[in-house]
Amino acid sequence: MKALSIRNLTKTYLKGPMALKGIDLDVEQGDFFALLGPNGAGKSTTIGIVTSLITKTSGEVKIFDIDLSTSPEKAKSYLGLVPQEFNFNGFEQVENILLTQAGYYGIPKKEAAPRVEQLLHQLDLWDKRFTPSRSLSGGMKRRLMIARALVHQPKLLILDEPTAGVDIELRRSMWQFLQEINAQGTTIILTTHYLEEAENLCRNIAIIDHGSIIENTDMKSLLNRLDKEVFILDLKQPLPDNIDLSGLAIHQLDSKTLELELKRDDIINNIFTRLTQQGIEISSMKNKANRLEELFLALVDRTSPNV
């Protein structure tokens, strides 16, 4: 069964451009799905329509086979949303925000309380349960939005840039948490500007640009289409003057740093052997840019195509 099915979805804002030009999108149940695109591409409009915050111009949205237009309450009962912007009542206490949200989904306080307690512990907010939400730090507010979206145990969780502005330690712990709930059966749709995040977490991906889906495939196939990768090599000693790098796609960045362009058919051992023969010792090696980032930029015409 499809967790989300979108057919020929269009949206034209009043006195504005056509934000969505008839997109089709399917997300399978249990998937961890990335919806990527540059700013203004149509991601938030798509999510807004699926979550009923934006009215569509035409088209069809089904959540677990239930039409959002004809049975909105049934369809919405499956959904949880972590929006991009903080959108809770700043004067409400953390615990009350979660209990109230559960109540909106028809869950009585008595039934919701243990679930709220569990989520607050899991997301490290238990000590802040009586704190008004406006007094929380940015990272805590992000975690509170995740807890709120999960309080009614949605089958489909939509996260619109959930880790924006979050430090790397917290981001990684959020990734782990999301992977856990996905493993427990929750379908997740993620939009993010951190492409490393999408690459690490998501199994399938759609890229939207100028209101159209320009790519919709699984992450592995997409990354396989990358025909070259660029690595940065840090050297142990400064590069000698008489070094011979002819025939290798290597550029010297400074005396102790090289940039290596590796094509898909290249064998990295051969390159290392040649460098080793000339007495060059490599202390570390890293990708110059995230692989998905390179593909993404190529796909949305932000750089010259190299796929």
């Binding site: 807004g48 009923s52 915050l53 309450e73 919405k76 009962s77 959108n87 004067f91 109540g103």
Partner: protein
């Protein structure tokens, strides 16, 4: 896969509880000011000036104005509660919590209106208790008294809701209470009987809906009214049906809420 069952009663009580919790949390802004203001009305208009006015429709001036002052507090607070609460929810975007949830629009409307009416009635009760320090309140027709105060609170809560839907900033929340509601309230027969007015102004007053509510409420308490009570009930029920239909239409359309 079977959709989870949503208990609308729980959703409604959650929304109502949240609204009540809100105005109780900020009681110095919501419950205290009307108590102080209405005490001043009783002291100045009822006691100091009223003692020189003498009787009106067979009652002391203090007794005569008490029902109107209570009704004024109910109307203002029912309106203000929904207008400010719903607009704040829009302003802070936490209205999205409701829009995303599986709650039908009519229930959102009913929840906010019940919250506004609750504040209006609680303030009405506070002002009634204050008035007992100054005068007696004989209740002649309990059913008319209670039904009129509840219907008035509902009607003005609906007005506040529609105001909040259209409002784009806090100024637009204040315009209608300041320039329409307050003048209509003061000209709604709280402090005088329209029999005292010249013919033209008597006729003009009949277009003021607040006149009907104040008089019907006064009738319930004192047994005197400038207008037939049945007309007051007809008008208020007609207004409630009209306003609630319009508010629901706006919610369904997403006016001021959804792009």
């Amino acid at each position: 896969m079977k959709a989870p069952e949503v208990h609308h009663w729980v959703a409604f009580t959650t929304l109502l509880t949240r609204e009540i919790r809100r105005f109780i949390r900020i009681w110095p802004q919501t419950l205290l000011p009307p108590a102080i203001t209405m005490t001043l009305y009783f002291i100045i208009f009822g006691n100091l000036i009223g003692s020189r006015i003498g009787e009106m429709s067979g009652f002391s001036y203090m007794e005569y104005i008490a029902p109107g002052i209570i009704m004024m507090a109910v109307i203002n607070n029912a309106y203000a509660n929904v207008a400010s609460s719903f607009f704040s929810a829009k302003f802070q975007n936490h209205i999205e919590e409701l829009l995303v949830a599986p709650i039908p629009n009519y229930l959102i409307l009913v929840g906010y209106i019940a919250g506004g009416a609750a504040r209006g009635l609680l303030v009405g009760l506070i002002v009634t208790l204050v008035s007992l320090f100054f005068t007696t309140l004989p209740i002649q027709h309990i059913f008319i008294t209670l039904s009129m105060v509840v219907l008035s609170a509902i009607m003005f809560a609906l007005g506040g809701f529609i105001n909040a839907i259209y409002a784009k900033n806090f100024d637009e929340i204040a315009i209608i209470p300041t320039f329409i509601l307050t003048p209509l309230t003061y000209l709604g027969g709280i402090f005088y009987s329209i029999d005292l007015l010249p013919d033209f102004w008597q006729q003009a007053s009949l277009f003021n809906p607040i006149l009907y509510m104040v008089n019907a409420f006064r009738y319930g308490m004192l047994g005197v009214s400038d207008i037939p009570v049945s007309i007051a009930f007809s008008i208020i029920i007609f207004c409630i049906i009209g306003l609630s239909s319009f508010a629901l239409y706006l919610l369904n359309k997403g006016t001021g809420l959804r792009h």
